[in-house]
């Protein structure tokens, strides 16, 4: 990732443990970008759309999204991000969740999710998947937010 285009990673994950494991493994892959962690949908949406440092108002970002959240479904957040009039509709969204239901996966892609990853329960696979995601993040090009 380019230094001057510091892409922040927004992680929306209700499970503190998962968040910690994800962060650790992303770091192990050599990704040093800023990681913002939110455990519920409301504050995440607030940050995404309204916060001064959020992607809507300031710079590019990448969203790691869990589908099982306490206050709303991850697909609701996905819908809001990818809505036609959303300022962050081009922000890549990586759905990272335990659900491997085919219908759910289809739905997420239909809503505009960019990558769908099922969290492997086996930790070696999990760590490896996250590290590969990190490698992927290091080469991905992220568009700027639409600022009008």
């Amino acid at each position: 990732m380019n230094e001057h285009r510091s892409v922040s990673i927004i992680m929306i994950e209700d499970d503190e443990g998962h968040a910690r494991l994800i962060e650790k493994n992303i770091r192990r892959a050599g990704i040093l970008n800023d990681i913002k962690h939110f455990t519920d949908g409301t504050s995440a949406l607030d940050y995404l759309f309204k916060h001064a440092d959020g992607p809507a108002l300031n710079g590019p970002a990448l969203v790691l999204l869990d589908l099982n959240l306490p206050d709303m479904s991850g697909t609701d957040i996905l819908t809001k991000i990818k809505a036609e009039d959303s300022p962050v509709k081009r922000t890549p969204v990586v759905v990272l969740t335990t659900t491997d239901d085919k219908i759910e996966i289809q739905r997420c892609y239909d809503l505009g999710c960019n990558v769908y990853i099922t969290k492997p329960v086996n930790y070696e696979s999990f760590a490896q998947a996250i590290r590969q995601l990190g490698l992927f993040l290091s080469v991905i090009q992220v568009p700027d937010a639409i600022v009008d």
């Binding site: 499970d15 443990g17 998962h18 494991l21 650790k24 099982n68 335990t98 659900t99 239901d101 969290k119 329960v121 086996n122 930790y123 070696e124 999990f126 760590a127």
Partner: protein, 503 residues
């Protein structure tokens, strides 16, 4: 509860029955009374008829006697007047018949003392008359007719004849009065009979009316009960339909529950496994540190630290790992089953031969590795069912057979089947190690396995097979002798109905 109800239903029924029995008894008693009265009356009438006949006989015999007496007297007078001997013969013949005639009357009236007394008087008078007659006839015959006429005039014959007539009249009158008395008795008997008849008739009619009313009421009660029963029956069908809907709703609920639970269980498990790995990595660094310390300054390394780093921690982490891995497999099994349960079944025409051959081919590698052969006993029937489900069932059964071979002999697994009316039976038989009888139903339960645990597996396959068989409207069972082999029998409907098979 039901006992009380039964008693409440039974009690009025018992009353009605007892009442009907009483009515019947009264009715039959009335009939019997009529019968007895009729029999008595008939006996009495025939007796009466006999007596009437008797009276007429007596009258007739008295009349005959009187005629004979009169005739005898007339012919005697004729002889005395004319002297013709034919009169004399006639008179004698007639007189000879009087005796038997009297005897006849005496015999008929022997039971009546008054008549007997009169007959005695009659005999006396007649004897006198007869003597008189003989005398005049004898005189006439001797030619002394004047003498005879004189004696005739002087004799008391006329008076005697009058006495005889009086006696006979009295006898007749007596008989008539007897007849009248008997008639009267007969009349009164008849009257009694009529009274009994009418009374009994009234009784029978009353009993019949009451019984009829009771029966009608009883029948009406029965009809009402039957109608209510029918209504309940109809309700029952509705209730069954409702219950079935409830059940399938409950089943859906369970499937959803299993899905959610297994999902939510996975999340914490990721943490447990993840941090266990982190812990292991940390332990490794600590162990390295202990190793290094032991070399540079062994005095600071305590036994506890060494033991913890080299034995206790690896052991604990190892147990956590195997347990979480097992839990993960179990959760995945539940997830898989619930996912299968939610799949929509799509019935299509399936050639079982083709499917069985496909299963055989996909497992032939594994089978030949283990020295077993899989035989499809063609031709197998066709059926209309869900392809994937049938494939999974057969594949699970054959795979089990390949897994649990007997070490004593080369494996031989046969897939056979036939159609019986509207069902299709499919059998997977093997000569493997068999299943102990105690485990025959247990093996179909989730996470339950049988025999030596020397093969990988979670005890899901047969649970899955049974769930699929049920979803296809079928059943599965096993017959097996431990150490000799097993036969799994799958019974499926020939045609799986489409519509509404989502669970």
């Amino acid at each position: 509860m039901s006992g009380v109800l039964a008693q409440r239903i039974k009690s009025p029924e018992g009353h009605a029955r007892r009442f009907l029995v009483v009515c019947m008894v009264i009715g039959f008693a009335g009939l019997a009374l009529i019968g007895i009265a009729a029999a008595l009356l008939t006996a009495r009438t025939s007796e009466h008829t006999q007596w009437v006949n008797h009276s007429y006989q007596v009258e007739v015999s008295i009349g005959r006697l009187q005629a004979l007496i009169e005739q005898a007297e007339t012919t005697r007078r004729g002889y005395v007047l004319t002297g013709h001997t034919s009169y004399a013969d006639n008179a004698r013949a007639t007189a000879a018949r009087i005796g038997p005639a009297i005897e006849a009357v005496a015999a008929l009236t022997a039971d009546n003392s008054r008549q007997t007394a009169r007959i005695a008087g009659l005999r006396e008078q007649l004897a006198a008359i007869a003597a008189e007659q003989d005398k005049t006839i004898a005189l006439t015959r001797a030619g002394r007719r004047d003498e005879a006429v004189a004696s005739f005039a002087a004799e008391t014959g006329f008076r005697r004849m009058r006495a005889v007539r009086g006696l006979l009249a009295a006898m007749l009158a007596d008989e008539r009065s007897l007849l009248a008395a008997r008639d009267a008795a007969q009349q009164s008997g008849l009257q009694t009979f009529w009274i009994v008849l009418v009374a009994s008739g009234v009784l029978i009619v009353a009993v019949a009316a009451v019984s009829l009313a009771a029966i009608t009421r009883y029948t009406r009660d029965l009809t009402t009960a039957r109608d209510r029963l029918q209504l309940l029956n109809t309700d029952l069908e509705g209730a069954v339909a409702e219950r079935t809907a409830d059940l399938s709703r409950a089943n859906e609920e369970i499937q959803r529950f299993a899905y959610i639970v297994s999902h939510d269980l996975r999340s914490p498990l990721v943490n447990v496994m993840g941090f266990t790995s982190e812990l292991d990595a940390a332990r490794q660094s600590l162990a390295d540190l202990v190793d290094a310390a032991e070399q540079t300054s062994p005095e600071i390394v305590t036994d506890e630290a060494r033991l913890a780093a080299r034995e206790d921690l690896p052991e604990a982490i190892g147990f956590i790992r195997t347990s979480t891995q097992k839990m993960d497999r179990l959760i995945n099994a539940i997830l898989k089953l619930s996912r299968e349960g939610r799949r929509v079944m799509t019935p299509e025409k399936l050639p079982l031969d083709e499917i069985a051959a496909g299963v055989r081919d996909s497992l032939s590698h594994l089978a030949s590795d283990r020295g077993a052969e899989i035989i499809v006993d063609s031709p197998l029937p066709e059926l209309i069912s869900d392809r994937l489900a049938i494939e999974q069932i057969l594949s699970n059964l054959v795979e089990n057979a390949v897994k649990y071979l007997s070490p004593d002999r080369p494996g031989r697994i046969v897939i056979s089947g036939q159609r019986t009316r509207d069902r299709v039976m499919v059998e997977v038989s093997d000569n493997g190690r068999g299943i102990a009888a105690a485990d025959h139903s247990r093996i179909f339960d989730l996470f339950r396995r049988s025999g030596t645990q020397d093969q990988p597996g979670e005890g899901i396959g047969l649970a899955h097979v049974r769930a699929l068989a049920y979803r296809l409207g079928g059943t599965i069972d096993v017959t097996s002798t431990f150490g000799e082999g097993s036969i799994f029998r799958l019974s499926l409907p020939f045609s799986l109905p489409d519509a509404g098979t989502t669970a």
